[in-house]
């Protein structure tokens, strides 16, 4: 038996699971308010653009996006196995790639702000 390299993918999963547990409900509530016609001030273009212009805000947003996507990807991988999909290597490659591609896209977009 050799020790597994799973910690590489599990570390960000555990961190992302914790982050999303603390943060995601509040974030969803913000856009839900906007969806119901009570958009919080932060979502006004000028204010959000000004906030997102700061490098620290960009870093925070990228961090949130990466950890959320990664923990979701890892969980989806496990769930697909639980649901009978046995091509784990393929599933893992696809879901982690989506998480990384989403993060890179967020970096590109945020740098344009």
């Amino acid at each position: 038996m050799a020790r597994s390299n799973k910690p590489i993918v599990w570390g960000p999963f555990a961190a992302g699971g914790t982050l999303t547990a603390f943060l995601t409900p509040a974030l969803i509530l913000l856009t839900l308010l906007a969806a119901l016609g009570h958009a919080p001030d932060l979502l006004a273009y000028e204010r959000l653009h000004a906030v997102a212009s700061h490098w620290l805000a960009k870093l925070v947003i990228v961090g949130i996006v990466f950890l959320s996507l990664w923990s979701a990807a890892h969980r989806l991988r496990i769930t697909l196995y639980d649901l009978g999909m046995r091509a784990d290597a393929l599933v893992a490659t696809v879901v982690y790639l989506i998480a990384v591609a989403g993060t890179l896209a967020a970096i590109v977009y945020l740098l344009r702000i």
């Binding site: 038996m1 050799a2 020790r3 597994s4 390299n5 799973k6 910690p7 590489i8 599990w10 570390g11 555990a14 496990i78 196995y81 639980d82």
Partner: protein, 247 residues
């Protein structure tokens, strides 16, 4: 003492005559305060002496009488008849091959238990003349709950991942490895990591938590497994990202 007639549906399998298992219905009069094991004993004594099952202590200590009672892994000696309504369905422990009737083949668990070296491996041997290996109450607390494991395998029958991934080392074996890793007198963690930090060790666990919910001795294997995951992760990052930090 009041008696009542209890209906049991027991999964039967005779390897010499049956191609597959089938349910057999028994009606047996039982005392109100009896457990499923009492009902099985009464069936064997008065109705059907061919019924096979394991049991020994009748007091939740030996871990022999684990079986599925209405789909839930339970010790038959701890499953009180009065807690069930209607027909009680009794099957051998899930996820294990059936040897005969309610008797399962447990070799897989026994081999896995052996692999994790569930015994003290002292950091360095010392002669008896130097005295005992001392331990404080706080050091004892660190692992005490895991010593309550009776190897009854209910956690294996509850764990869906063990059902899906037969190579998975599983809850009790990992909890017992963790029990010795947490022991201040032990120095064998490195050897045990070879088994439990492998892919077939803790990494096949998805933290369903069923193992801890069904444990009749209130051991928390799910907790032990997550703690081993976190420690193995720290090991991995230390080894690969900070190679200058040597153990």
């Amino acid at each position: 003492m009041s008696e009542r007639v209890v209906e049991l549906e027991v999964l039967r399998y005779n390897p010499e005559t049956d191609s597959e298992p089938h349910f057999q219905r028994y009606s047996v009069s039982c005392e109100e305060e009896w457990v499923v094991l009492d009902a099985l004993n009464k069936i064997k004594e008065t109705i059907d002496p061919t019924l096979s099952y394991r049991w020994s202590c009748h007091m939740a200590v030996c871990g022999s009488c684990g079986m599925m009672v209405n789909g839930e892994p339970k010790l038959a000696c701890k499953a009180f008849l009065r807690t069930f309504d209607g027909v009680i369905r009794v099957e051998p422990l899930a996820h294990f091959p059936i040897e005969r009737d309610l008797v399962t083949v447990i070799d897989d668990f026994v081999m896995k238990l052996k692999r994790v070296k569930p015994y003290l491996i002292p950091k360095q041997d010392k002669p008896v003349s130097e005295g005992e290996y001392l331990q404080t109450p706080a050091e004892l607390k660190k692992y005490k709950q895991y010593t309550l494991c009776i190897n009854c395998m209910l956690c294996y029958a509850a764990c869906p991942e063990y059902g899906l991934i037969p190579n998975y080392i599983g809850p009790a074996a990992i909890a017992l490895a963790h029990r010795y890793n947490q022991d201040s007198r032990d120095g064998g963690r490195d050897e045990r990591q070879e088994e439990i930090a492998a892919t077939e060790g803790v990494w096949d666990c998805s933290f369903v938590g069923a193992c801890s919910e069904v444990c009749p001795e209130h051991v928390d294997p799910a907790g032990a497994i997550q703690q081993v995951k976190i420690k193995s992760m720290v090991d991995w990052y230390k080894e690969h990202l900070m190679p200058w930090v040597k153990k």
